[in-house]
């Protein structure tokens, strides 16, 4: 059976009797424990899967998150009451046992497990199964009901291993350096940028990052200012990243030739970009899997590097949880729910307040969701 819960609907129970989590105007709500998961309005108690803007909203009275997520959340909400909980450790909220389990999406990203009276629900948040040097790997958690993301839930979305993609990025950078061009790589400011830096660190054998005489000033990696803060948090959390400095305020022209610059998509089309000599423009996102999307957005290059699960990872994960009921949110949720329903699972879709549906992905980068 399939049920649909739409935006701004009155509190819904997905048509499920005695649901542990219901859908409310403020987001996912657990009435037994009186808390919300990733609410999009201020509430009394917010349990947070990860620090991306559409999951962690400001203004709640108290936040609960996985321990490695705390410094990121603290950076976004300096004065908030935040209680970190180590991965795997259970705490009791009104008779509901709540614990965090690694989701592999970005630093500190977690699935939230809820248990009451022998029934287990897991809210996946965003997740991926591919290895990522910046965060703990996804841990499959057995449950009765699994609330999964579906950002890239179509069979055309299959990710190549990151090592190969990083190799393509290095090759693109090398070709641009040879022509004295700057390489501007747009990517999400929290998560993707640091993952790229961590992957690059593993490639110092390329001789790109040493800044030796032959390539003086050429192999530098620079960061847009909007990324520097989160990057500092990663370093302070002990994640090993390639050296990267902020783009200097007055740097322009030839001093920036040959650099690799990580920047958020919002910097595109701003005067900031004009300081770079003849830049080659690329975008690192799962969206870049589709040629038409890359061309419509007029990027020179698209690198398919995603922090979300691809099609087979979604199906594999759902099977691993052993869940008999799967609720789907984000992206291509209709398609995934329909396929699971055809396979005999109880399913439903659930829309967030921030996203009509995936068609709008062309305008935003879903990597930061």
């Amino acid at each position: 059976m399939q049920c649909t819960v739409s935006t701004n609907s009155t509190p819904g129970t997905f048509g499920i009797m005695s649901a542990l989590i219901t859908d409310s105007v403020s987001g996912l709500y657990c009435s037994a424990g009186d808390f919300f998961v990733d609410p999009w309005q201020p509430v009394a108690r917010a349990v947070i899967t990860h620090a991306h803007g559409d999951h962690a909203h400001a203004g709640s009275e108290a936040y609960l998150c996985a321990a490695p997520c705390e410094p990121l959340l603290r950076r976004r909400f300096p004065d908030a009451a935040i209680q970190p909980v180590p991965f795997g450790e259970g705490i009791d909220l009104g008779g509901v046992r709540v614990s965090f389990h690694p989701a592999g999406h970005i630093l500190g990203s977690a699935q939230v497990r809820l248990e009451r009276g022998g029934e287990v629900w897991v809210v996946s948040g965003d997740y991926k199964r591919a290895p990522d040097p910046t965060c703990a790997p996804f841990e499959a958690v057995r449950c009765d009901t699994f609330i999964t993301e579906a950002t890239f839930a179509l069979p055309i979305y299959t990710w190549d291993p990151a090592a190969g993609v990083i190799g393509e990025i290095l090759e693109w950078w090398r070709a641009n350096r040879a022509e004295g061009r700057a390489s501007i790589l747009f990517c999400y400011a929290l998560g993707k940028a640091q993952r790229i830096l961590a992957e690059l660190r593993g490639r110092t054998d390329e001789g790109l990052l040493r800044g030796d005489a032959a390539s003086a000033g050429q192999g530098r990696v620079l960061l847009h200012g909007a990324m520097a803060g989160f990057t500092d948090v990663y370093r302070a959390s002990g994640v090993a990243l390639a050296p990267a400095e902020r783009v200097g305020e007055h740097a322009r022209g030839r001093s920036l030739a040959g650099t690799l610059v990580l920047a958020p998509l919002s910097a595109r089309g701003t005067p900031w970009l004009r300081r770079f000599p003849n830049p080659s423009i690329a975008f690192a996102s799962g969206l870049m899997r589709v040629r038409g999307v890359r061309r419509q957005r007029a990027f020179d290059r698209g690198f398919v590097l995603s922090d979300h699960a691809d099609w087979s990872a979604l199906l594999g994960t759902i099977a691993e949880t052993g869940a008999s009921r799967v609720l789907v949110t984000h992206g291509w949720s209709d398609a995934l729910a329909r396929l699971l329903a055809d396979r005999g699972l109880e399913t439903g879709t659930l829309r967030t307040a921030f996203e009509g549906e995936l068609g709008e992905l062309a305008a935003v980068d879903p990597e930061g969701t």
Binding site: L154, P155, I156, Y157, T158, D160, R289, V290, R291, G292, V293, R295, Q296, A298, D300, R301, W311, S312, W332, A335, R338, L339, D342, G356, E357, L358, G359, E360, L361, A362, A363
Partner: protein, 531 residues
């Protein structure tokens, strides 16, 4: 195929024209001539006869990827291109051992063309095996070649420039040699590069194209420096009379001689060694007939005699590029025109496009208002001293078209575009009022900026009333000013009207839907237009 796929990627990956030309030129220099010949064939927009229906590829991919048909449809909605969807789907399957590379020409001759002689089961077996053995980009290209849908984001003029660079030849010489009938063989390509002097008698010249006049005509200076003709609404064509034969070429470089036998017959009276530029035009009762009449002649190869009687045509000649077997394109238009009048009569199937003699820009402007009634699109303005150039070069030839017909219509349906517009809703259907219902009258795809497309896309998603497959019915709120070239009664359309070349001129945010135009208004325009 590896080298060709790398070329495709290089072109696809840059927005820079120079980089595209450099990649093409390097390919033409380095690739084996047989491969380069086929690459030229595809890059200049030529196609193999479709060997395999796109539907078959989809069905095979769906079977081997083991997904339901509706899910394949969802994938298409995301990617907008089935060749790509199929190429991406195969990625999810366990990889086969990579095959050694087979050159492009061998792919065509030894693998792709022989498919025509095999049955569907054998085609399926071969194609799916190729998919499994090829890397993704080559798989994608293979699908494009098989379905005859190969397209690449590079203008023909750039391909010509690149070939000219590789051959160290003049672009005009390359363009001329690419125009005619040729077969993509290693010998042909080698001779193209060597600029062999064996002339092909059928070969037309590259067309000289006019630019739209955007400023008032007074900005062109003295009226007397300009030759003015009516702008005909037919098919631009070049008539080549050499070696005792006649060839009629369309601007799409298609040989159309056989579709217009009366023109070919009339041309046998033109002296040998002549090339004329002009317009194939449906013509009856002493006046031009609408383009829609000519379309009946284009589509139909059978029952030619019958349709020839129903839709007579003329070749309206307006220039001569070759006289007495001499290329006179660099001579001034005035001189060429005198030559034209000496060759071609003022009536008959082959006739001169008459000069419009109104003495001032003002007088022309007044006359131009009669365009629609005369069945023409406005004026052509040509500098009397101008040579016959190549391609669209601004300055000497202008088209001064009449303003399009306009109507304010309401957006009622939207659906996703294709290719690079996939995942954005860019195909719109507009309606006008018939009583209190909106009747669809036009589909339009062009005219909005990228920013407007994205804004409208977001609006549509929030204001979808119903969905029928990919088509969304939206709240009837947004009004657009549509422009189109012509409007005619039609029995095939629900509104009873057919519009020609509709496009969006303005997003009328100021106008409520209730003030959009009515079907009655459009019908009135159609009856006026018929006059």
């Amino acid at each position: 195929m590896k080298r060709f796929a790398a070329l495709y990627d290089a072109i696809d990956r840059t927005m820079s024209t120079n980089a595209k030309v450099a990649a093409l030129a390097a390919y033409f220099r380095d690739a084996p001539p047989g491969d380069a010949a086929w690459a030229t064939f595809f890059l200049t927009g030529r196609r193999l006869k479709r060997l395999i229906a796109s539907a078959s590829l989809r069905a095979w991919a769906q079977e081997i990827a083991d997904i339901p048909e509706w899910l394949l449809g969802e994938c298409y909605a995301a990617a907008g291109d089935f060749a790509e969807v199929v190429a991406l789907l195969i990625d999810a399957l366990p990889a086969h051992a990579r095959e050694p590379d087979v050159p492009l020409a061998a792919w065509i001759h030894d693998r792709i063309l022989p498919l025509a002689a095999t049955d569907e089961a054998e085609q399926r077996a071969r194609v799916t095996a190729w998919w499994r053995g090829l890397p993704r980009n080559e798989r994608f290209l293979l699908n494009k070649l098989l379905t005859g849908e190969f397209r690449v984001g590079v203008a023909q003029t750039l391909v010509v420039r690149a070939l000219a660079q590789a051959a160290q030849a003049e672009p005009t010489a390359i363009a001329a040699r690419l125009m005619g009938d040729w077969t993509p063989t290693a010998d042909w390509f080698s001779s193209l590069m060597a600029q062999a002097h064996t002339a092909d008698p059928s070969r037309p010249y590259p067309f000289f194209l006019a630019s739209p006049l955007e400023d008032p005509p007074e900005t062109l200076g003295d009226r007397s420096e300009w030759l003015v003709e009516w702008k005909w609404d037919g098919i631009r064509a070049q008539l080549v009379r050499r070696a005792g034969e006649v060839w009629l070429w369309s601007r799409g470089e298609e040989l159309i001689t056989r579709r217009f036998p009366e023109i070919a017959a009339a041309a046998t009276h033109v002296p040998d060694g002549t090339v004329l530029d002009g317009e194939v035009l449906a013509f009856g009762g002493g006046r031009p007939r609408p383009f829609s009449a000519l379309q009946q002649r284009i589509g139909r190869q059978r029952q030619l005699a019958q349709i020839m009687r129903a839709v007579p045509v003329v070749f309206m000649a307006y220039d001569v590029m070759e006289r007495d077997a001499t290329d006179i394109r660099t001579r001034p238009l005035e001189e060429r025109r005198a030559g034209l009048i000496a060759i071609v009569a003022h009536d008959g199937v082959l006739r001169v496009s008459e000069e419009v003699t109104a003495p001032s820009w003002d007088a022309l402007s007044a006359l131009r208002d009669e365009s629609r009634a005369r069945g023409v699109e406005g004026f052509m303005l040509k500098r009397r001293s101008s040579p016959y150039g190549v391609g669209r070069r601004r300055g000497d030839w202008w088209k001064w078209k009449i303003a399009p017909l306009t109507v304010d219509a309401v957006l009622i349906y939207a659906q996703p575009g294709n290719g690079r517009r996939a995942s954005l809703l860019t195909d719109y259907t507009f309606g006008v009022w018939d009583g209190d219902t909106l009747v669809p009258v036009a589909k339009a795809y062009s005219g909005l900026s990228n920013a407007e497309i994205e804004e409208l896309d977001r609006w549509i998603r929030r204001h979808t009333r119903e969905r029928h497959g990919p088509v969304r019915a939206v709240d009837p709120v947004q009004v657009f000013e549509l422009g189109f070239e012509a409007i005619a009664p039609s029995t095939r359309h629900r509104s009873g009207l057919a519009v020609r070349f509709p496009r969006m001129l303005h997003w009328r945010r100021d106008k409520p839907a209730s003030e959009a135009d009515t079907l009655e208004t459009l019908k009135r325009m159609a009856s006026l237009n018929r006059e």
